[in-house]
C-alpha cells in the first residue's frame, strides 16, 4: 500500500518496507481525500486470452503491492497451474475458482479492490469466453469505465466487438482500448496504429464519450504503471495514470425518482416509504406524485436513524413520510410531478439475451424493474444487432448472447424512463417463470402507447366511491372451461339471479364479444391471448364502474388468465372452472363446433388440436357432468355473495 494512505502512526513501520512496496510516481497526497472521493468502478473486458486477468494482477502488484501470504500462495500455484513458464502467473490472483485455475481461463467476474495515492478502485475482471458473456454484462452493469483489451497479434475478434457493444449499450461512456502483448509484435507502432484505426472505424456508431488508447504488455508491465522504454512513440498516459486522472461525468441531471422498496409501519403513528433515491433530489415540502396512480402529496419528513434530514439526493437510502394518507406500496415510483416517468404497459427495449433457450414473440416472463416485479410478455422481436458492422438486421428470435430490439407488454402499467435518460428506472431484467433464471438484461428505449404522455388522472370519484353508490362490492367472475362445458348457460342464469337480488351486473360472453370488439381476431395462440387481454381490460373498466362482471370465455391458456387476474386488486377477481369431460362437451356440442372441428372445418379448436390448461387453484369448480345448470348457477351465486360479504365496506363516506 502506498505511503500516502498511511496515517502518521503507521509511518514508523518496519524498516525496509518501502523497498518492498513500489511507491507510485504520483506526489504524496494527504490521507483523507483519496478515500473521501469514492472508488472508481471499472471492468476489464475483451476476448479470451487477451490477458485481462494478468493485467489486473499486474495492476494490483505494482500499484498497491500484493500481500505477502497471497504472493506466496500464487508463487506455489504458478508451478502447478501457471501459463508463464518460470514467472509468477499474476492471473492466479484473480482466477479464484478451481476450475479457472485448472483451465487457465476466467469463468466468472472477480471483484478486486485497490488504492493508490490518488484514488481507490473497484475492478471487475470479466471473462472473455462467449459462453460467459452474461457474467461480463454483470460486471459492466455497475461500472463507470471499461478497459477493453485487444491482443496485438489477433486484433478485433467477434467477442471484442460484442463486449464493446455491450459496454456502449449499458451506458459506459469512458473506454480504454488497451492493446496488449505488444512485446509479441516487436513493439510495432504501425501495428498499434492499425488496430486503433480499425477500432475507430468499428466503434463509430457506439456511444462513447472518450476512448483512450494505450500500447502495453500486461505480462511484463510496460505502460501499466510505469511508462515503457519500449514505446518511445507513445505520448499518452500509462494505464494507471489514466485511471487515476479520468473524470467520470456526473449524469445525475435526471429528475427525482424514488422506487418504493418497503412500507415501514412500526407502530400506529408512523407510516413511511423506505427506499433509495434513484435520481435527482427531494426536499421536505416538495410535491411528489405516485407515477402509476397519479396521486400527488407532499413530503412531510425525510427520516434516517441519525436524524431527520431536509434533503435527500441520488444514492441516499431514506424513509419518506407524507402530508396525506396516500395509497403507496412496494413497486410504486415517486416522481417529480412536472417531470414524470412514462406509465405504460407497452414499450420498446433492447435485450441482451442470457439463456440457452431462444426467445420468440409470445414468451412470458416476470419482469423486474426498480422494485416492481410483474408478468410481462415479449410481444415482438424487431431486429438483432449484427456485431460485424453494428447494423440491425431483421430477426424473429434471439439466441444466447444476442442483442436485439423487442416490444414488451406488461400485465399492469409500469413507470419507466428510457435507459439513456435514467439507468435506475430504465434497466430491467426478465426472469424465466419456470427455471427462475435471469433470462435477459433489458434497456428501455421508449414507451409504445401513442398516449404515453397522458398520465393517469386520479379522479375525485374513484372505483370505491362508484361501488359505494351502488351499495355493492365490484367483482370480476371469470368462468373458464372447454367449449360446451356450460359457461354461457350458467353465467346467464347467475346474472339473472343477481339482478333479482338487486345487484348491478354485466355479462361478457366470449361469442358475443367476438362479434364486435374482437371481430378482428382469429383463434391461434396469439389471437387468443389478445382476445383474453381485451376482455380482461373491459372487465376491469366495468368493475371500476362498480359492476359485478361475469365473463364466460374458453380462455384456454393459464398465463393469459393470470395476466387478466393481475389487472384486478386482490380479492376482486374470482376464477371459476366449469368442468366437464371432453366426451360430455362433444356430446352436447350446443353450437355444432365439435362437429365442424372433427370434419376439419375449424382448426385451433380447444380440446382437439389446441390444449386446454385448467386453473391450478380455482375459487370454485362447477362439475357439470354431475350437476345441472340451475344448481351450478345457484352455487356460483352463493360463492359470489360470500365473496362480496367478506369485503366490508370501508369508511367511504368519510372520503366524500
Amino acid at each position: 500500500m502506498p505511503t500516502a494512505l498511511r496515517s502518521p502512526a503507521a509511518l514508523g513501520a518496519p524498516a525496509g518496507l518501502d523497498d518492498i512496496l513500489r511507491t507510485p510516481s504520483a506526489p504524496v497526497a494527504p490521507p483523507l481525500p483519496v478515500r473521501a472521493r469514492g472508488a472508481l468502478r471499472f471492468i476489464t473486458c475483451g476476448s479470451v486470452d487477451d490477458g485481462k486477468s494478468t493485467l489486473i494482477g499486474r495492476l494490483l502488484h505494482e500499484a498497491q503491492g500484493v500481500l505477502d501470504d497471497q504472493l506466496a500462495a500464487i508463487t506455489r500455484e504458478s508451478r502447478r497451474f501457471g501459463t508463464t513458464g518460470e514467472d509468477v502467473d499474476l492471473a492466479l490472483l484473480l482466477d479464484g475458482l478451481e476450475a479457472e485455475r485448472e483451465q487457465g481461463i476466467t469463468i466468472d467476474v472477480a471483484y478486486r479492490f485497490f488504492s493508490t495515492g490518488r484514488r481507490a478502485f473497484v475492478v471487475a475482471d470479466t471473462p472473455g469466453h462467449e459462453q460467459y458473456t452474461r457474467n461480463m454484462a454483470t460486471g459492466a452493469s455497475t461500472s463507470e469505465l471499461a478497459v477493453l483489451l485487444v491482443d496485438a497479434r489477433k486484433g478485433l475478434l467477434e467477442q471484442t466487438r460484442r463486449h464493446a457493444a455491450i459496454v456502449s449499450l449499458l451506458g459506459i461512456r469512458n473506454v480504454v482500448l488497451a492493446v496488449n502483448k505488444m512485446d509479441l509484435v516487436g513493439w510495432s507502432q504501425a501495428r498499434f496504429d492499425e488496430l486503433v484505426a480499425a477500432f475507430g472505424a468499428f466503434a463509430g456508431p457506439l456511444d462513447f464519450r472518450s476512448v483512450t488508447t494505450i500500447p502495453l504488455s500486461a505480462r511484463f508491465g510496460d505502460n501499466v504503471v510505469e511508462a515503457s522504454p519500449n514505446t518511445p512513440w507513445h505520448v499518452g498516459p500509462t494505464l494507471l495514470e489514466h485511471l487515476e486522472a479520468v473524470e467520470i461525468a456526473d449524469d445525475s441531471a435526471a429528475p427525482f425518482r424514488f422506487p418504493v422498496q418497503w412500507v415501514s409501519r412500526p407502530h400506529a403513528d408512523f407510516r413511511g416509504a423506505a427506499g433509495t433515491v434513484a435520481s435527482g433530489r427531494v426536499a421536505v415540502g416538495d410535491a411528489v406524485v405516485v407515477a402509476a396512480s397519479g396521486r400527488t402529496t407532499k413530503i412531510a419528513r425525510i427520516v434516517t436513524m441519525d436524524a431527520d434530514v431536509e434533503v435527500a439526493s441520488a444514492g441516499d437510502a431514506v424513509t419518506l413520510t407524507f402530508a396525506d394518507e396516500i395509497d403507496i406500496g412496494r413497486g410504486d415510483v415517486l416522481a417529480a410531478p412536472r417531470a414524470r416517468p412514462t406509465v405504460t404497459r407497452r414499450f420498446a427495449a433492447d435485450l441482451v439475451w442470457m439463456t440457452d433457450e431462444e426467445v420468440e414473440a409470445g414468451r412470458r416472463f416476470l419482469m423486474k424493474v426498480g422494485t416492481a416485479t410483474l408478468p410481462a410478455t415479449v410481444t415482438r422481436i424487431a431486429d438483432r444487432l449484427d456485431l460485424a458492422w453494428l447494423g440491425r438486421v431483421p430477426a424473429d428470435r434471439l439466441a444466447l448472447n444476442a442483442i436485439g430490439r423487442v416490444h414488451v407488454e406488461t400485465a399492469v402499467p409500469v413507470s419507466i424512463d428510457p435507459y439513456g435518460e435514467n439507468r435506475a428506472t430504465g434497466g430491467f431484467i426478465l426472469i424465466d417463470r419456470a427455471t427462475h433464471a435471469t433470462s435477459a438484461a433489458g434497456l428501455v428505449i421508449a414507451g409504445l402507447d401513442g398516449a404515453r404522455d397522458v398520465h393517469a388522472q386520479a379522479g375525485a370519484v374513484d372505483p370505491a366511491v362508484r361501488a359505494w353508490v351502488k351499495t355493492q362490492q365490484p367483482l370480476a367472475v371469470w368462468l373458464t372451461g372447454l367449449p360446451g362445458s356450460g359457461k354461457s348457460t350458467i353465467a346467464a342464469l347467475a346474472e339473472r339471479r343477481l339482478v333479482a337480488l338487486g345487484h348491478h351486473t354485466m355479462l361478457l360472453d366470449g361469442d358475443n364479444v367476438r362479434q364486435g370488439l374482437n371481430a378482428d381476431l382469429g383463434f391461434d395462440a396469439a389471437s387468443r391471448a389478445e382476445n383474453v387481454r381485451r376482455v380482461g381490460e373491459v372487465a376491469k373498466l366495468m368493475t371500476d364502474a362498480g359492476l359485478i362482471v361475469l365473463v364466460a370465455l374458453v380462455s384456454p391458456f393459464r398465463a393469459d388468465r393470470e395476466r387478466a387476474a393481475g389487472l384486478f386488486p386482490a380479492g376482486r377477481f374470482m376464477e371459476v372452472l366449469v368442468d366437464a369431460s371432453p366426451e360430455t362437451c362433444r356430446a352436447r356440442d350446443p353450437k355444432g363446433l365439435y362437429a365442424k372441428a372433427e370434419s376439419g372445418r375449424i382448426v385451433n379448436f380447444t380440446g382437439r388440436d389446441q390444449a386446454y390448461e385448467p386453473p391450478t387453484a380455482p375459487a370454485l369448480v362447477l362439475a357439470t357432468d354431475e350437476i345441472g345448470p340451475e344448481i351450478a348457477a345457484e352455487r356460483l351465486v352463493q360463492a359470489i355473495l360470500e365473496r362480496i360479504r367478506t369485503q366490508p365496506a370501508s369508511a367511504l363516506a368519510a372520503q366524500l
Partner: protein, 325 residues
C-alpha cells in the same frame, strides 16, 4: 424516548473496554462510506421485502457488528424484521458470547443460537478432530441444520469480496440449491435488480457488505462508534505459541503439548473464530486509530490467522460448495 436514544446513553458505560466513539470527530461519513452504507441498506430492504423468512447470521465479529448496525438503520424507526442467528461452536471466546448477549439485550433483538450438539457430544473438538472436519461439522453442518430447522429462505452474511479470492467471485445474492454454491453457474446480477426467485429447496445467501474492504469496515466502525468485541484491541494476554500461530488460551479446556509454556504478550485479533484455531497478532493497536494504521501498513491478509483456511488452496471454495458461507 426512542430505542436508539436508550442505546446511546447506555453503551459507553457498558463498554469500558471500547474506546469512546470517535463519531464527534467524523460528524459525517465520507461519500465513499455513505455509498457503501446506502448500498447495504438497499440490499437489506430488498431481502425483507422479497423473502418469506429471512435471518441475519451474526458471528459477533466486526463485520457482523457493521451489518447489525446497518440493519438497524435500514428499518428505523422500526426494528429489523428478522431474527439474528449465531452458530456457536462451543469454542467461542467468552468475550464474544458476552458481547453477543449484550447487543441482543440492548437492541431488543430476537437472537437464535445454534450448536451442533450431537457432534460435540460425540467428542468432536478442535484438538482431536482434524481441522477441516471440525469446521465442517461445527460450522458448516451446524449452519445448514439451523437454516433447515427454521425454514429460512434467505440468510445475510457479513462476508466481503476482498477477504478471499473465491469470495471475490460471488454474487451479492448467492443462489443455493440445497445450500450448495455452484460457482460455474451463477445467475447474472445486473445493476441492483436482484433476482430473488427460488424453487422449492432453494435458498439465498445475501452479502450486503460484498463491496467493502477490511479498511472500510474499520473506518465505518470508527465513524459510527459501533461497539465491538474487546479482543480486537491489543492488550497483554496469556498466549502460547503453537505451529507458528499465537493462541490465546481462553478457558481450561486447552490441551497442552510437551514443553509448551504460557507467555504474556501484547496481542490482538484481526478476525475471530474458535479460540484454539484462531491466531492472534502481536500488536500495539489499542484503539481504532491504531488498528487502522496497522491495517494500512500490513503485509499479510486478514484471514492469514485462520488455521481453518490454510490447508488446501481452494479451501474457501470447497467449503462454500459444501454450504459454508
Amino acid at each position: 424516548m426512542r430505542a436508539a436514544d436508550v442505546v446511546a446513553e447506555r453503551l459507553p458505560e457498558a463498554h469500558a473496554a471500547v474506546p469512546s466513539p470517535a463519531a464527534a470527530a467524523h460528524p459525517r461519513l465520507s461519500p465513499h462510506l455513505r455509498r457503501l452504507e446506502a448500498e447495504a441498506i438497499f440490499i437489506m430492504r430488498e431481502v425483507a421485502a422479497e423473502f418469506r423468512n429471512p435471518v441475519m447470521l451474526y458471528s459477533v465479529g466486526k463485520d457482523s457488528s457493521v451489518m447489525l448496525h446497518i440493519a438497524r438503520k435500514a428499518f428505523f424507526p422500526g426494528r429489523p424484521p428478522f431474527p439474528l442467528m449465531h452458530i456457536a461452536s462451543g469454542w467461542d471466546f467468552r468475550d464474544v458470547i458476552t458481547h453477543r448477549d449484550r447487543m441482543a439485550a440492548t437492541y431488543g433483538l430476537d437472537l437464535l443460537v445454534h450448536t451442533n450438539a450431537e457432534a460435540a457430544a460425540a467428542g468432536v473438538n478442535p484438538f482431536d478432530t482434524e481441522t477441516g472436519e471440525y469446521s465442517r461439522l461445527m460450522l458448516t453442518e451446524a449452519l445448514k441444520a439451523a437454516l433447515d430447522q427454521h425454514g429460512f429462505d434467505a440468510a445475510f452474511g457479513g462476508a466481503r469480496r476482498d477477504e478471499e479470492k473465491a469470495r471475490a467471485k460471488e454474487r451479492v445474492f448467492s443462489h443455493r440449491r440445497g445450500h450448495v454454491w455452484d460457482p460455474r453457474n451463477q445467475r447474472p446480477e445486473l445493476w441492483r435488480l436482484f433476482n430473488t426467485r427460488l424453487a422449492p429447496g432453494d435458498s439465498m445467501r445475501v452479502f450486503p457488505l460484498s463491496n467493502w474492504t477490511e479498511l472500510d469496515v474499520w473506518d465505518y466502525i470508527r465513524a459510527e462508534g459501533i461497539p465491538i468485541v474487546p479482543l480486537y484491541f491489543a492488550a497483554e494476554r496469556t498466549v502460547v505459541l503453537r505451529d507458528g500461530a499465537v493462541l490465546v488460551v481462553d478457558d481450561d479446556r486447552m490441551r497442552w503439548r510437551e514443553a509448551e509454556r504460557l507467555e504474556r504478550r501484547r496481542v490482538r485479533f484481526r478476525t475471530l473464530g474458535c479460540w484454539p484455531l484462531t491466531g492472534a497478532v502481536e500488536s500495539d493497536a489499542a484503539d481504532l486509530d491504531g488498528i487502522i494504521a496497522e491495517i494500512v501498513s500490513s503485509r499479510v491478509s486478514e484471514r492469514n490467522g485462520r488455521l481453518v483456511d490454510g490447508a488446501v488452496q481452494a479451501s474457501m471454495e470447497a467449503k462454500k460448495r459444501e454450504g459454508y458461507f
